[in-house]
């Protein structure tokens, strides 16, 4: 379980998050929606230590992780599939997956069955299997997104953060990505999903939070939010 309480963060003097609180219960999927610039990505960056929070608390499985570095947070079991995929372009697909399991391979996290997990990733993303010796930089956008997700899953995380997995993908691929999120949900993966496709995100989620200008504007059960007229007109209307 991931619990964020009154989190304040920003870049230099510019505050982006003005005290937000979000709870991601164990085994549940939580969608974080909102328009461009609302602070969704900044929230995820603050959670995974890419950005140092100014105040507030973040607890992962009861332990305070606010202010730790990203490698420390990752080793504690928070995986982050970042905005823009950020795959290691000069390394083959296979090495990208192995690096996802770096803490498991180097003794800072329970090792488990790394080879078995790689095979499970290939089942979940059959395209990665075909391309496993190919350099990640030569993959298509959709394949890179799948690799970024698979790489994050290789941590065997307690909580998975997904930042805009649908960004820049064709409608058919977006659908494919959401099917995978659905499958992960079925195996009780705890997820915080940031999405511009608000309707689709709420569809696969248990709970939703709507962000606006660095504040949480409203939150609740996903299906309730989906039917909320105010949310509908602002975020679920035309274009999405």
């Amino acid at each position: 379980m991931l619990k964020i309480d009154k989190l304040v963060a920003g870049y230099g003097k510019v505050k982006v998050l003005h005290g937000i609180s979000i709870t991601v219960p164990e085994g549940k999927v939580v969608a974080l929606i909102g328009s461009n610039g609302a602070g969704k990505t900044t929230t995820l960056r603050a959670l995974s230590g890419m950005l140092k929070p100014e105040s507030g608390s973040i607890t992962l499985g009861g332990k305070d992780i606010a202010g730790l570095t990203s490698h420390e947070i990752t080793r504690m079991g928070l995986a982050h599939s970042p905005e823009g995929r950020r795959v290691f372009s000069t390394l083959p697909v296979m090495d990208n997956l192995l690096l996802g399991a770096f803490p498991r391979l180097t003794g800072s996290r329970h090792k488990g069955d790394v080879d078995g997990d790689i095979n499970r990733m290939f089942e979940l993303f059959p395209r990665l299997k075909e391309r496993r010796t190919q350099l990640a930089g030569t993959l298509s956008g959709g394949e890179q997104q799948m690799l970024a997700m698979a790489r994050a899953l290789m941590l065997n995380p307690e909580v998975l953060l997904l930042d805009e997995p649908s960004m820049g993908l064709s409608p058919r691929l977006v659908e494919e990505i959401f099917v995978i999120v659905e499958r992960l949900k079925k195996v009780n993966m705890t997820m915080l999903l940031v999405e511009q496709f608000a309707a689709a995100a709420l569809e696969v989620s248990d709970f939703g939070y709507v962000m606006e200008n660095g504040h949480i504007r409203t939150s609740g059960e996903a299906h309730a939010l989906k039917n909320d007229p105010a949310v509908q007109s602002a975020y679920l209307g035309g274009g999405h």
């Binding site: 995974s48 990203s70 490698h71 290691f88 996802g100 770096f102 803490p103 996290r109």
Partner: protein, 299 residues
């Protein structure tokens, strides 16, 4: 023709030394976008520590060849330590302060300090380094090669292949490549990227120290031997492209061979000119180096 071949062969051995030092620049540039401007001094310190060690061992009635072999790990360990110190004192504070140029002054300053230190310990004179192999040249179809020149080439290639093998095969090596690709994303994999950068500095100075004890028996050694070599290797790294380990080696060979050719056909007085001319040409035509990938700086 025979003279030409002879010059090329000599150029290769000189070029390999430039290549190894340049390779060291490339190692730290890849992970941290910084480099050690005291790389020449790392080479000099390696050679002088090697000299003291080998003389001590010879004093213990160990033959020169075995003394040289035993001395190698000592020098490599010393180089790694020295590189870590440079990173820790000169580079990390500048990176923490997000200073774009602080590390340049800091590594130059550390280089000068190391040189002064060496002058006080080993004096200012050039010193003779015992050669582990006979100094008489071997002749291959009229082309004469010193046995130590072969060791230089083989040693340089072995070092670079070793690093390449480590990067491709071990998970720690892959972590180094991942850090070079995208430092933030590497952090998200649970990789301590600060430690990777320290490691790349250690490896970089280790390469320089290794180059120092490779070249020392062929030339002479002394507190001032590093400055020119470090600068030329820097030119080589720029010519080859700082983003390509292979490019740096080829850059080294190009510079080594042009130098020996100029020295013979034009004048030894102009020996240093063609390399620098080449540097200027590469900088104006292909600033990322002959083999470098053009970096796109995202704003």
């Amino acid at each position: 023709m025979q003279i030409l071949m002879q010059l090329i062969v000599s150029g290769i051995s000189v070029g390999m030394i430039y290549g190894v030092i340049g390779f060291g620049y490339q190692l730290t540039f890849a992970t941290s976008k910084t480099l050690n401007f005291g790389q020449g001094e790392a080479l000099m310190l390696g050679a002088l520590v090697g000299l003291t060690t080998i003389n001590f061992l010879i004093g213990q009635q160990i033959g020169t060849f075995w003394a040289y072999v035993i001395m190698l790990p000592v020098v490599l360990a010393f180089g790694a330590l020295q590189g870590s110190v440079v990173e820790w004192l000169g580079v990390r504070p500048a990176m923490r302060a997000k200073s774009e140029a602080g590390w340049i002054m800091a590594t130059i300053a550390l280089g000068i300090i190391f040189k002064n230190l060496a002058e006080n310990i080993w004096g200012r004179d050039a010193l003779k380094f015992p050669s582990p192999l006979p100094e008489a040249s071997l002749s291959f179809g009229g082309i004469r090669i010193q046995p130590m020149e072969i060791v230089v080439v083989v040693g340089a290639i072995a070092l670079m292949l070793g690093v390449e093998f480590f990067n491709r095969r071990s998970i720690y090596g892959k972590a180094v490549v991942a850090t070079s690709n995208d430092r933030d994303a590497a952090g998200l994999m649970g990789i301590n990227t600060n430690r990777i950068i320290t490691f790349s500095y250690a490896l970089s100075s280790m390469s320089a120290a290794f180059a120092g004890v490779l070249v020392a028996p062929v030339t002479l050694t002394g507190a001032t031997m590093g400055a020119v070599l470090g600068l030329k290797a820097f030119a080589v790294a720029i010519i080859g492209g700082l983003s390509s380990g292979m490019g740096v080696v080829i850059g080294g060979l190009i510079l080594g061979i042009t130098e020996t050719l100029t020295g013979y056909y034009i004048s030894t007085g102009y020996k240093d000119v063609p390399g620098l001319v080449l540097l200027l040409i590469v900088l104006s035509l292909k600033p990322s180096g002959l083999f470098g990938k053009a970096a796109i700086k995202k704003v």
